[in-house]
């Protein structure tokens, strides 16, 4: 069954890409939903994270998994500092100011990385156990893609549990739905913001490292894929973990399939679809109707 194999490998590739999209975008969705902050610098955090991961592997000889952890922690710490010092001043500011501030931040990130590391693409060497092919019974497929899918499923399950079952998760959901009410109930919104922002940026860093293998990693990464991250968030709905997950899978599979069968008009199709979707449901496929 050639057709079945084709569909299976298409799905696997698309889902793997979707997982990376999800890991990067979930933080953006939660911070946008929670704080109403248009954070165009999110792709920058993913880019910085990818660099930390690639460079620690190259110069410190760290393994892939420890490097991912280092990247997560480093970017989470950096973004927590930025959030406390700068972002928090603009929570109540106009959208335009937030857009400008974060564009400025992205430009600074790109320029700093270009100066410190160089403008060229940064290769990321995968460890041996993730290279090559794996036999899944019906189809042979790249081990790394399969590993990405497994990791993605673990992460989305973990996030869903944390969001749905823990006290902090309940506080975040409460703050997304009605910030004033949550504040009056004694939830420390400021601390919650810093926490989710740092965590979301850390996830972006993780995604930057995990996706570097097929998205590449150069300073322009921060802007190149930003539109994709924003589309995923807008389609999935603000502040919805599961919504972002489905949207990321949808966009990932669509993009992967279209690039293969319709390399010319694929991107245009995704933009057109996004416009129609947002006109049909302005708060995204899975977003709440009232915000």
């Amino acid at each position: 069954m050639i057709f079945g194999v084709d569909v299976a490998s298409m799905l696997l590739g698309g889902v793997a890409a979707g997982m990376v999209l999800f890991i990067v975008s979930v933080g953006l969705s939660v911070t946008m939903g929670l704080m109403g902050f248009v954070n165009l610098a999110h792709g920058g955090f993913a880019m910085l994270g990818g660099y930390v991961i690639a460079l620690t592997m190259k110069y410190w000889g760290l393994g892939f998994v420890p490097a991912l952890l280092v990247g997560f922690v480093a970017i989470a710490a950096l973004s927590a500092v930025l959030e406390r010092l700068l972002y928090s001043r603009l929570y109540r500011a106009a959208e335009l100011d937030q857009v400008l501030f974060t564009i400025g931040l992205v430009l600074m990130m790109i320029a700093s990385v270009t100066v410190l590391v160089g403008p060229e693409n940064q290769p990321l060497a995968l460890p041996a156990f993730l290279r090559g092919q794996i036999n899944l019974g019906i189809v042979q497929y790249r081990t790394y893609s399969v590993a990405l899918i497994v990791v993605g499923i673990l992460i989305v399950t973990g996030l869903w549990l944390a969001f749905d079952r823990t006290r902090t998760g309940a506080q975040i959901r409460a703050a997304v739905d009605n910030r004033r009410m949550a504040e009056s109930l004694g939830i420390n919104i400021g601390r919650l913001f810093t926490l989710t922002f740092a965590f979301g940026s850390g996830m972006a860093a993780l995604g930057g490292g995990l996706g570097a293998e097929f998205l590449g990693l150069d300073p322009q990464y921060a802007l190149k894929y930003l539109v994709y991250f924003l589309i995923v968030v807008a389609v999935g709905g603000l502040g919805r973990v599961t919504g972002v997950f489905y949207a990321a899978l949808l966009i990932g599979v669509l993009d992967f399939t279209l690039k293969k069968y319709l390399p010319q008009g694929g991107t245009a199709f995704i933009y057109a679809l996004t416009i129609l979707l947002l006109l049909w449901r302005p708060h995204g496929l899975f977003g709440a109707k009232t915000t």
């Binding site: 501030f101 400025g104 790109i110 700093s112 245009a268 996004t274 006109l279």
Partner: protein
């Protein structure tokens, strides 16, 4: 009751409000400077032409962003639409007269603005931001795909543009005609925008920006006004794009890209939005800096630009003109009597 019968007619606030639209003494200065530039720096006329076009583009954004308060990331869609209208018509030999070409460019851009505005402006916030961005990206992809007409990635070059008024040739090496032509078009468009923003229509736009809910409550047709403003701004952006294509005799995908849209936003904010002349100040500051710095130290330029944006967003929301206004107010502050 006419305004003169009101007992408050000579209140300072009423006088200031009624005289808001009057020409101020310094307002001819930018135009005199622009004319002087023509005679003083004949070597930099190419740069000057680019600068004037950027000002025109920024003015179009000021109308929609500064006055109506619509945060758009896709203004370059209309610039590109205008540029490609001129480019395709000239390349195919259908139409190459410059002035009517601009009218056509404005019409096409306005039609796209009207069509997209009618659907996009139902939304707001992040959704609107995304929709404007996606519309622009969609147009860019469409222009890339239709390379039989648009030349695809390479664009269209050496467009045969007819001499202006049948007499003045567009010479790419000595852009004297281009400079004066662009200056004249900028002047006409600017007078139009200036009249518009001080008209009752412009007042209602400011009202919508400041408090949409209240404008709904007093019965203003909010969506109609926004869509009309969006289409008008698109038309001016289309003129800017069309004249860019005429002056440079080529069009490429860069006219439609996010780069151009982001740059004009930065320029407007740098100068100060919602104050007409912000476009002038911002464009001059940005273009002069980028012209001399970006080629020598491209990375430092990017770093400095980023820093500048962060500082503006955090501390100086009204840009250079805002800072200047603060300075003037500080100089004129009432001093305690000795």
């Amino acid at each position: 009751m006419t305004p003169t019968e009101s007992p408050w007619a000579d209140h300072p606030a009423a006088v200031a409000l009624a005289g808001r639209h009057r020409l101020r003494a310094w307002e001819p200065i930018p135009w005199i400077l622009a004319l002087a530039f023509y005679f003083v720096f004949p070597k930099y006329l190419g740069f000057g032409t680019e600068l004037l076009i950027t000002i025109l583009f920024a003015v179009s954004l000021d109308l929609v962003l500064g006055y109506a308060g619509i945060v758009t990331l896709g203004q370059a869609a209309f610039f590109g639409a205008g540029a490609y209208t001129v480019g395709i018509l000239a390349k195919r030999g259908i139409w190459n007269e410059p002035i009517t070409g601009l009218v056509l460019a404005a019409a096409v851009a306005a039609a796209i603005g009207l069509g997209s505005g009618l659907v996009l402006l139902r939304t707001g916030g992040l959704t609107l931001l995304m929709l404007t961005l996606c519309t622009m990206a969609l147009l860019e992809e469409a222009a890339n795909l239709a390379h039989d007409y648009t030349g695809g990635f390479d664009g269209l070059d050496s467009l045969p543009i007819a001499p202006l008024l049948g007499r003045f040739e567009f010479n790419p090496l000595y852009p004297t005609t281009q400079y004066l032509y662009v200056l004249a078009v900028l002047f006409v468009c600017f007078v139009f925008v200036r009249t518009l923003v001080y008209s009752p229509f412009g007042q209602s736009l400011t009202g919508i920006r400041e408090n949409t809910l209240r404008m709904h409550a007093v019965g203003a047709p909010v969506r109609g006004r926004l869509v009309l403003c969006y289409a008008l701004s698109a038309a001016i952006a289309g003129v800017a794009g069309g004249i860019w294509a005429q002056a440079n005799a080529y069009v490429n995908l860069g006219t439609l890209g996010l780069d151009r849209a982001a740059t004009v936003l930065i320029i407007l904010v740098l100068g100060g939005y919602g104050r007409l002349y912000g476009a002038f100040v911002g464009a001059i500051a940005y273009m002069a800096l980028s012209h001399f710095l970006s080629k020598l130290y491209p990375t430092a330029w990017q770093l400095g630009l980023g820093l500048l944006l962060v500082v503006i967003a955090l501390f100086a929301r009204n840009g250079i003109l805002g800072i200047a206004e603060l300075g003037v107010r500080w100089l004129r502050r009432p001093r305690p009597m000795p």
